[in-house]
């Protein structure tokens, strides 16, 4: 059985012309075009390039939304098993387009195999979505790139999509953690690693310890008595019954709730949605996680100008750094737009 492939290439490799044709909108051709011919030859009997999408690099990058919509429609219509994009070598706009095609296809559950130079911005930005073979920085490396991509496609077919590590298969790391069932259970692997460490023989850690990014400290508040202070928490404090259904673990969202007119939080009005700690203390008195009562006192006493009348909340339990970062950026923007001077972030 052969799988059905759609190939994405730019105007140049699509034989439409060079820079002068870079504004070419999406065109759909039957069968392989340009480098697709060599790919098809290398994949005979295993895969068939049924269609080729050709798009000008400038068109794609200047009309990204439109281009993505067009490509999504084509893919939904053709329903290929796999997409091959490029190779784009070190061509920046072409790499960005191939990467973006990867993102669109990922959204549809269609895998993508591409080829790029390791410094192509399309790799850096979109590496999560595609298996990208490393190529040289110019099209002079086409003769090496095509067999390398065909080899990865073949492996993908033979292993029914369950590819091994980047080093084993010859693609550049996607920056993803991928689950698989190992031959030996974890405890046995741990003992083997312990023995290697004791004997001084080489071993490969299964997880490299993470490195977190840093933000420059912000200037201090000069005058508290005129400052608006906002409360933010990862402790999952929400109005009773969790109206927005924030997940008890691995949160996909945060909540924005009014505390306007509230003197404090209490058992009747608020609770925690967090599944990662004993909720009894917080449910009895939610001020233990989100100190509204004390901030109201300080507001009344004039120590702070104002307690911001909305608080922001999510569940930190098992929530990925990527989600947390996105929530943080959005919450910061809301606070900034509302003229908030500083935030108190509480964690459980």
């Amino acid at each position: 059985m052969t799988i059905r492939v759609v190939h994405y290439i730019n105007q140049f490799f699509g034989q439409k012309g060079g820079e002068e044709a870079a504004n070419l909108p999406i065109e759909l051709a039957d069968g392989p075009v340009g480098p697709g011919a060599a790919l098809q030859a290398a994949l005979t009997g295993k895969a068939e390039i049924v269609k080729t999408i050709i798009c000008g690099d400038s068109y794609f990058n200047e009309n990204e939304g439109l281009a993505c919509m067009g490509i999504r429609e084509i893919l939904q219509d053709i329903k290929p098993d796999l997409i091959i994009a490029g190779p784009a070598f070190n061509a920046g706009r072409y790499g960005m387009a191939c990467g973006k095609v990867g993102e669109v296809a990922h959204g549809l559950g269609i895998p993508v195999i591409s080829g790029m130079y390791n410094e192509n911005p399309g790799y850096e930005l979109y590496r999560n979505f595609s298996y990208i073979v490393e190529t040289t920085n110019s099209a002079a490396g086409m003769r090496q790139a095509i067999p390398a991509m065909a080899k990865l496609v073949t492996a993908w077919i033979e292993k029914e999509g369950k590819l091994g590590t980047p080093a084993e298969e010859g693609y550049m790391p996607r920056g993803l953690r991928v689950n698989f069932f190992a031959e030996e259970r974890g405890a046995k692997r741990a003992v083997n690693m312990l023995i290697a460490k004791l004997e001084g023989t080489p071993f490969q850690t299964e997880y490299e310890m993470p490195v977190f990014d840093r933000v420059a400290p912000q200037p201090a508040i000069l005058d508290l008595s005129t400052a608006t202070i906002a409360l933010v928490t990862s402790g999952g404090v929400v109005p009773k019954c969790n109206p927005n259904r924030i997940e008890s673990s691995s949160a996909s969202k945060y909540g924005e709730y009014s505390i306007g007119g509230l003197e404090c939080l209490c058992e009747a009005t608020h609770e925690t949605a967090h599944g990662g700690y004993d909720p009894v203390a917080c449910n009895k008195d939610p001020n233990r996680v989100l100190p509204v009562d004390v901030l109201r006192d300080l507001e009344r006493e004039g120590r702070i100008g104002k307690l911001h009348d909305k608080f922001y909340t999510t569940v930190g339990n098992g929530t990925s750094v990527a989600n947390s970062k996105a929530f943080g950026a959005e919450i910061a923007m809301h606070l900034k737009n509302a003229g908030v001077s500083a935030a108190i972030l509480t964690s459980t």
């Binding site: 201090a220 402790g235 233990r288 606070l335 509480t346 964690s347």
Partner: protein
Amino acid sequence: MPVVHIATVVPISLTVGANRIVPAVAIPHPLGNPKMDPAEEKALRRSLVEKALTALTTEIEDQTVF
């Protein structure tokens, strides 16, 4: 806009990169302690919030635990 992180596990707060950090009481109740008398507990909460306000009004150059 300065942010102060009130957190129990200060090492995590330092690892993930918070700049102004105020150590809290315990994970399930960072700003309280159910074992305390309610008035005492609120005084404890107030002292932590006041420390957080001090952190927000203090210029810092690097990660600082208050």
